[in-house]
Symmetry: C2
Subunit: 500 residues, 2 copies
């Protein structure tokens, strides 16, 4: 027997849910209805246009949700002509249910747990968080992983062995929350010369990578509903940490010059904290123009605001004039600078840094101390020596050549095989390219398809807090893959794209 | 010219300030008055009895505050007969003021910064935090540091070199927030056999030591003014993290059987979260009795509360019957277990673990992911192999012998040299002993004196959130020091104590 409806009455979109984009909210609602048995097999869903009208969103948003449900096997039929709950739900869903059942058996009954507001937000969004902050895989075109096979592990291993085998007493006890002094010095010196950062050693606080730096900043500055400007599209790590910490995230569309202050002020004039990636906008890759930088700094001075500058892969620039850091241009101590070694050493190292105005050092260092005391000292000592002995600068120079070459390979292969299917343009910097899809092709759908062929292509839509009303796109990381892997990856992508 | 007063009108004690104990609030108020010039040289302070009456606190609380000010050179004269602001304030205070002036010069003017409530609390207490969560020194009788010179660095270095020099691809990218799977397995297996912890691998979440575990729990469970029971005296790391995260800390006096539920309920019946150290109460060293354990578990079941069990140095038991963990006795998934490797490997490693009921895994793992993604994977791999190959168990057995011996040396030396001056009794477990002072001798004063002689003896008073109405005491860590160091330390202590 077939049931049919024109509306899905229980879908309530939450505009203010800045963690889950709209399409994802629709996806979750329908998926839950299927898994809970509310929508049974062969149940007919409303058309994408009908549901879009009902919810007051653009049709592509509903299409994205349906596409993901199709790709995962929850739905059957053809988008537009008739969409049904799959007759046979795949084995894995039943397994999911079984695993859940087994899990909660250990707990005597389904318990009500009183969490804090923060805990409740985590509980409501843990699947999203674990999906976006989980382990990386080294398959094309995973983004944000470096060419670890080209890392000088012989040198690194030699330094590491020295510190692990014959450590001095001072690096074995509890250490300074702000970081191991020689590493703070090495980082300050590197940032001054390589990125024009204006700082003393005392302004450097070592963190467990960018994620911790963002979390410390959010905790120290964000009260409930504190408005924060973020780039749209933008970095998920920042969006999640600010929204789960209670901020009202205000997504500000970026253009060719990067973050646009005028747009931002129109959206919310009250904001006093902004997070951005000026040297290489994540994920679009644009460089923020000098004019925009100067006006943003002037805004910060006038309004007594702070700018969080995430300089996440400024080390990889292949052409064009490198702009020094925003922090280096600032004359009013309004920039909090974030650097990290995940992209230059390897992600699993979990070391990064904050460079902060002197009057923020005590508060942020205290936050660090209470969070987890300090980063492992031996790791800090190894990295400090690696930088000080010149291996770090040498490694970056070498990687720059390798990555430029890999980017060229990707552009050439795409030119050769993906004409009309995916528009891949070169970029002056960074570790990934965007492949733009033809109008109407869902990046979520392609991304899901690709994962079945052992390809990782992140849909650009996932980096939008609001609706992505522009074209779909795929994030193509190229740095961790050699010529053969890139070439094979492009050919597989061609097959997938040709069928859509 | 001499000014004299009987009252200090501006001291307002804040009972609810659970970060700063009362004596410390008095100390801070007077110190600030001196440094700001409100109290000038030769200004006469009220008697300790007079100020105690004015403030409604016990006299020993005021004595402790005055003693610390004496020890630091702010005050002169004799307690009881007449107390004055020092005629010549030591050079260092002037330096402190100068450093501050130089610091803020970089910032164009003294700025008003809008912090979150968390940020404001950090700003108000950063000196206290940095003092209590800073670097450790390897001088007698620093507590909580292991005998790192007896650690098998040859084995550790060999394993470390392997992982650093020839790492497999899977440990270099972003890892799982819950931890490196082989380490979670090794930890689960160790805790099951050594501590009677009842858990699967999935319940283990690797953290950056106990501090991070506590912070994650506080964030997930504590809303503003959520009441939490803590042991009194108790661990500062827990008290600070809960109070700065907004909890209402309810200190519950411990006795010979450890944490006392009846007392706790009288103090605040509404509490649903308690932090305690049942295997070795910190800092008093008592073991919580079985009867108390069972009634606490029953309370947790009845009231649907959670018990945070910090099993921080259960590995070091020298005599008596070891009690298995509270977690292992629990049948209702009401215990969150904390373990760490700071005391068994070395503090700078920054690795520990949470063992949590299965229905808390997702939320706490998500909190971990958003905080800083995960602990450095190579460090986790090294530790996993060290445990798996049996080196860890062997090391603990060896250390147990060494520490028992060192404790005996300390007890014998104290017996020999500190009669009447300090009462040091042996303990069945742990890494430190308490030396009890004669009535009326301030532990703060002795601690400050000792620091001038390169001795680190923490005053037991600092572990009290409320007033310490009992005797003063000194925490004497013995594990990191050899016979000569302990013996010399005791002799130095004798000199200091004899003069007081």
């Amino acid at each position: 027997m077939q049931r049919q409806i024109d509306q899905i009455p229980f879908i309530m979109l939450d505009d203010k849910n800045t963690v889950l984009p709209l399409f994802r909210q629709i996806y979750e609602a329908i998926r839950t209805a299927i898994l809970s048995g509310k929508f049974t097999s062969n149940f007919r869903l409303p058309s994408t246009r009908g549901l879009a009208n009902q919810l007051g969103v653009s049709r592509i948003t509903v299409v994205n949700a349906y596409d993901q449900l199709f790709a995962e096997g929850y739905l059957e039929g053809k988008t537009g002509s008739g969409t049904f709950v799959a007759a046979h739900l795949p084995e894995e869903f039943l397994q999911t249910t079984r695993v859940k059942a087994r899990k909660s058996q250990a707990i005597s009954r389904q318990r009500t747990i009183v969490f804090s507001e923060y805990g409740n937000k985590l509980a409501a969004n843990y699947q999203h968080i674990q999906q976006n902050h989980g382990a990386s895989v080294f398959i094309p075109f995973q983004n944000g992983v470096s060419a670890v096979d080209s890392f000088p592990f012989d040198v690194w291993g030699r330094i590491a062995q020295k510190w692990h085998k014959n450590p001095t007493l001072n690096i074995l006890g509890y250490g300074e929350p702000a970081g191991f002094q020689p590493l703070r010095e090495a980082v300050a010196s590197h940032l001054r010369s390589a990125r024009g950062v204006s700082c003393t050693t005392e302004q450097v606080i070592i963190t467990n990578g960018t994620q911790q730096a963002l979390d410390l900043i959010a905790r120290v500055f964000v009260s409930k509903n504190t408005a924060v400007w973020l780039e749209e599209p933008g970095y998920l790590g920042a969006r999640d940490v600010f929204s789960i910490n209670g901020a009202k995230v205000v997504p500000v569309p970026v253009d060719d010059e990067g973050f646009d202050l005028d747009q931002a002020r129109k959206l919310d004039e009250s904001v006093r904290l902004v997070y951005l990636t000026p040297s290489h906008q994540y994920p679009l890759g644009t460089t923020m123009s000098l004019a925009r930088r100067l006006s943003l700094l002037e805004w910060a001075r006038e309004t007594e605001s702070f700018i969080i500058e995430d300089d996440y892969n400024s080390d990889y620039r292949y052409s064009g004039r490198p702009l020094p850091s925003l922090q280096g241009l600032d004359r009013n101590n309004r920039v909090i600078y974030l650097g990290n070694f995940s992209k230059t050493i390897f992600p699993a190292l979990r070391l990064g840094c904050l460079v902060v105005p002197t009057d923020l050092v005590d508060v942020l260092t205290s936050a660090r101390a209470l969070s987890d005391l300090h980063s492992p000292t031996i790791d800090q000592a190894i990295l400090a020596e690696f930088i000080r002995e010149g291996h770090f600068a040498r490694h970056i120079r070498r990687m720059r050549g390798i990555y430029e070459n890999r980017q060229n390979i990707l552009v050439d292969e795409a030119e050769l095989h993906l004409k009309e299917l995916l528009e891949v343009s070169p970029a002056e910097s960074g570790m990934h390219l965007i492949g733009w899809l033809p109008d109407g092709v869902s990046d979520w759908k392609i991304s899901n398809e690709a994962s079945k062929f052992n390809l990782k292509v992140a849909p650009i839509s996932q980096y939008f807090a609001g609706e992505n009303r522009a074209r779909g796109g795929l994030v193509l990381g190229y740095t961790a893959f050699d010529e053969r892997q890139i070439s094979n990856g492009v050919k597989t992508l061609k097959e997938i794209l040709s069928r859509n």
